[in-house]
């Protein structure tokens, strides 16, 4: 399938609409002009651009400072507007000369129910993927000269279609080689990709340190010894030009596209001088929007170990993406690629890693060849498993349920599922736990002050009814106010937000509430978000809230999922073992040629920040297991006892309040020689990750087919039928089969 270039898309977007407004519309509008129109503020205050009426519904307004355009430029704008309007008129004339769309069929299709709800967070339904070959640009309707001009001014016109297609062919060819060139295509100034011109001196030292350090038995020695003290020691010395802290509070994360492959597939590109693939943080991230956006867009690329041997990220225990995907598939749709976060898919499953007896964490590292990559590749699985807490050892909890009862919660019985979920949770609470209830529609109100009387809570939850619009900000604000008043330092103080994430009313976008959530989390009030419903569902907001709130984000598609999160894993959901848990994996450049982290794209932390304990990272609840997968390419001739990679985990222990670090070394000899010889955990994880990669449309899963994966998954499911996760794996196999039929019918 050919890829449309940006120019072609710009031209398609600019195509005139072959449709007149319905007859009578003009009169209807005119008849509604009120006799007196108030024009009080004309010329005195506020820019219309900054504060349009109805602006309250912009889900997450970008902060719009007052217009910065100098007045002296206004005549220019007036002129360009004039040109555009003239152009508009011209194009209308062109339109009028063309026959109108005669197809009632087309109209039918467009009024198909889905189309009304594609929505800001909605997804293109992909069930019709196969039929959708973009029409060749040659058939594109002619653009008006003025639109051509506007396109030209935007850098999206080409002299002719011939040039255009040459261009596009060239673009396709380049995709493997030149990200920077691609960026330059529309005449945008090229940001120099920051690649160290020569290996910085410390790099050499580090390599030596790896060898001497690791081979010399530093395991369990001085923290940081293994990696030569590099993290934190040599900012920027690792080839990652731009330190990339997480900036999750950027409004741009909303609705972001994480699916785009941004770096060449170096497997295919056969080595030789590849640059600019430094783990996703060498992008020109310093621009206002570019930062979060670019990072969010890309799937992690392969990184040359010679350039950057450290992979650093914050842990994430969320599992919502898996249940979101499950919901999509069970409804007969392929999941929106943007909703697929591989780490959340992978972490949905219990891999049977044993939790530690006394320590906070048990670490595990393993590797094996995979069926999804060449023979020189290995899949590495690092698992971090948190200590479990017996229900009776759990600290008492002060829980504030913040429940969205807006009109949208009425759909598909979302509120009903919330109620039953909360009732499940209530059944697991015990004497000493306190629960309060806040609801919000247009406004928030405290339905129940926190009380020990769980029967009273149950009655209040049972009586919830949907009403009005959504003011999530007010709901959370009321919830935090309540939690503050009833704060108990010795308890788990937690807000539980149940919503479909649609936040359409509120004084501001999420920035203000996000800022508050971060502060409250530091004070010890954590926020767990439970997502309900689909269609108009705001996955990103829910994830963002939980991330800022140091809590967990789960998507509740079924009562079983509610049971899993709120009953089986209640201790993990309520009680945090570790805060700001970060992982750094150091690869041995003498064994690993290149590596790629699967998932955790939005958890990236700059290497040198690994030992910066002010960096916000992941919170891990009791009993939680977190798995990180890497695909690595081995160098030829790596001998058995060489270290492959060393896993470092750094966290702040809730028990002691102290920052701790642990590590786990993986040697060549510890890796399985074949996929068949790999542990069940690794086999399952590789299938899950590949599923996610295909759903995301990852560049690295291009050659893979869901059909083949489904057969593999069935095999794995049969093998693991008897294990504790047997039912989950069987379901996974079914879902992959379903996705396969949807995508490759």
């Amino acid at each position: 399938m050919s890829r449309l270039t940006e120019r072609e898309i710009a031209r398609k977007l600019a195509e005139p609409l072959d449709e007149e407004p319905p007859a009578g519309l003009l009169d209807k509008i005119k008849s509604e002009i009120p006799p007196v129109i108030s024009m009080g503020a004309l010329g005195s205050s506020g820019t219309p651009g900054g504060k349009p009426p109805g602006g309250e519904v912009r889900p997450f307004p970008t902060p719009t400072p007052a217009s910065r355009i100098p007045r002296r430029a206004q005549w220019l704008m007036a002129a360009s507007l004039a040109v555009a309007v003239l152009g508009g008129l011209l194009s209308w004339r062109v339109v009028k000369m063309q026959p109108p769309l005669p197809t009632s069929e087309a109209v039918d299709m467009q009024t198909r129910p889905e189309s009304a709800d594609a929505g800001p967070t909605g997804s293109p339904s992909e069930s019709d993927a196969e039929s959708m070959s973009p029409p060749p640009p040659a058939k594109a309707r002619p653009l008006s000269p003025e639109m051509e001009k506007q396109l030209g001014s935007l850098g999206y016109t080409a002299p002719g279609d011939a040039v255009l297609s040459d261009e596009s062919a060239g673009m396709r060819d380049q995709r493997g080689a030149g990200d920077a060139r691609r960026r330059n295509e529309a005449g945008e100034p090229v940001q120099p990709v920051e690649v160290p011109s020569a290996l910085p001196a410390p790099m050499v030292d580090k390599e030596q340190a790896f060898e001497t350090g690791v081979e010399g038995g530093v395991v369990g020695g001085v923290p940081g010894g293994v990696v030569g003290g590099a993290p934190g020691g040599v900012p920027g010395g690792t080839g990652r030009g731009v330190p990339s802290e997480r900036k999750d509070d950027s409004p741009l994360r909303v609705g972001e596209n994480r699916a785009a492959p941004a770096a060449p597939k170096q497997k295919a590109a056969a080595a030789a001088g590849t640059t600019g693939t430094t783990g996703g943080s060498a992008e020109p991230n310093d621009e206002a929007y570019g930062d979060t956006f670019y990072r969010a867009v890309e799937t992690n690329p392969f990184v040359d170990t010679e350039e950057d041997r450290l992979s650093t990220f914050g842990l994430d225990v969320d599992t919502a993406s898996y249940t979101v995907a499950r919901r999509y598939l069970q409804d007969g749709n392929l999941p929106n690629p943007n909703s697929v976060r591989i780490e959340e898919l992978v972490n949905f499953f219990d891999y049977g890693d044993a939790p530690p007896e006394r320590e906070d964490f048990a670490l595990r590292a393993e590797g094996a060849p995979t069926p999804f990559a060449g023979p020189e590749y290995r899949l590495l699985r690092f698992n971090v498993r948190a200590r479990q807490i017996r229900p009776e050892d759990r600290k008492p909890a002060v829980l504030i349920f913040v429940v969205d009862i807006s009109g949208s919660m009425d759909m598909e019985n979302r509120l009903g599922l919330v109620k039953r979920s909360l009732e499940l949770l209530l059944s697991r609470l015990r004497a000493g736990d306190k629960v309060g209830l806040v609801v919000y529609g247009d406004r928030a109100r405290v339905l129940l002050e926190p009380t020990f009387d769980l029967e009273q809570v149950r009655a209040a939850v049972g009586g919830l009814r949907a009403e009005g619009s959504t003011n999530a900000e007010a709901g959370l604000t009321a919830g935090y106010d309540l939690a503050n008043r009833y704060f108990r330092p010795e308890a788990n103080n937690r807000i539980l937000l149940c919503s479909d994430g649609v936040a359409n009313v509120g004084a501001t976008g999420p920035e203000r509430i996000l800022a508050r959530i971060g502060g409250e989390a530091r004070k010890g009030i954590e926020l767990t978000t439970l997502g309900f419903g689909m269609g108009n569902y705001n996955d990103v907001l829910m994830e963002q809230l939980a991330d800022k709130g140091d809590g967990r984000y789960a998507y509740v598609d079924t009562l079983d999922e509610a049971r899993r999160v709120l009953v089986e894993e209640l201790e993990g959901t309520l009680e945090t073992i570790a805060k700001d848990a970060k992982v750094q994996v150091a690869f041995n450049p003498q064994v690993v040629d290149r590596w790629r982290l699967l998932g955790y794209e939005n958890r990236d932390i700059a290497d040198e920040k690994f030992r910066d304990d002010t960096v916000d990272a992941g919170e891990i609840g009791a009993g939680h297991g977190v798995t990180a997968l890497y695909e690595v390419k081995l160098k030829p001739g790596a001998t058995a006892d060489r270290p492959v990679a060393n896993l470092h985990l750094r966290w702040k222990s809730e028990r002691t309040g102290r920052v701790r670090e642990e590590e786990k070394l993986l040697r060549v000899s510890q890796m399985a020689r074949s996929w068949d010889g790999a542990t069940p955990a690794l086999r399952l994880a590789s299938v899950v990750a590949e599923f996610g990669e295909i759903l995301r449309g990852s560049y690295w899963a291009r050659g893979s087919s869901l059909d083949a994966l489904a057969r593999l998954a069935e095999r794995v499911a049969r093998e693991q039928r008897e294990s504790r996760r047997g039912a989950d794996v069987a379901e996974l196999a079914k879902l992959i089969g379903k996705a396969s039929r949807l995508k490759e019918p």
């Binding site: 977007l13 407004p21 349009p52 910065r68």
Partner: protein
């Protein structure tokens, strides 16, 4: 030579401010095609687009008190139209039929793929891809292409530079290219 449109719009707004109701009619005549076209492409449904166009103007009259004439009327109304559309999306009652219909269609959703062919489907695919863009990128694409607004106007309205608008557009087109490519796979 004719009066430039921007200046004409400004004059009409000034006349409206002076109490000339007919100026409002002139403004409607000048802009309603653009508003309808924009909404038509946003929602994909001509009837709905007509309703939303009417709603846009109802809102505009109420809101004119807040209009200070620093941006063009057409720029301003474009934003109102866009917000009206977003508001529409969030109306639960509008969404209920969607879910019911979808659930009813669940037993075998696959055949739908065969039904949708041709250019109209392609347009719809593009529309839905635009819908899936991040908020600010989506507005940028809508305003530039479907509202026919000049870059500078959109930049001023958004309170950012024209360079930033071009960057947004660039990103939007990249995402659209990826989305359409993935869809087509």
């Amino acid at each position: 030579m004719r009066e430039p449109d921007g200046a004409l719009e400004n004059r009409l707004v000034a006349e409206l401010a002076a109490g000339d109701r007919e100026a409002a009619e002139r403004l409607v005549e000048r802009t309603y095609r653009m508003v309808f076209g924009l909404l038509r492409r946003l929602c994909g449904d001509p009837d709905l687009a007509a309703d939303l166009t009417q709603e846009t103007y109802r809102k505009a009259w109420d809101a004119l008190a807040g209009f200070d004439g620093r941006s063009q009327f057409s720029t301003w109304i474009c934003r109102i139209a866009y917000n009206t559309f977003l508001n529409h999306l969030r109306r639960p009652r509008r969404l209920v039929p969607f879910d019911e219909a979808r659930e009813a269609a669940v037993p075998d959703p696959a055949p739908a793929a065969d039904v949708i062919v041709g250019q109209a489907a392609a347009g719809d695919r593009l529309r839905r891809a635009v819908m899936a863009l991040p908020e600010d990128l989506r507005y940028t694409v809508t305003a530039l292409f479907w509202g026919d607004l000049p870059v500078k106007e959109v930049a001023r309205q958004e309170g950012i530079t024209t360079v930033a608008i071009r960057k947004r557009l660039k990103k939007a087109l990249q995402i659209l290219a990826n989305t359409l490519e993935e869809d087509a796979r």
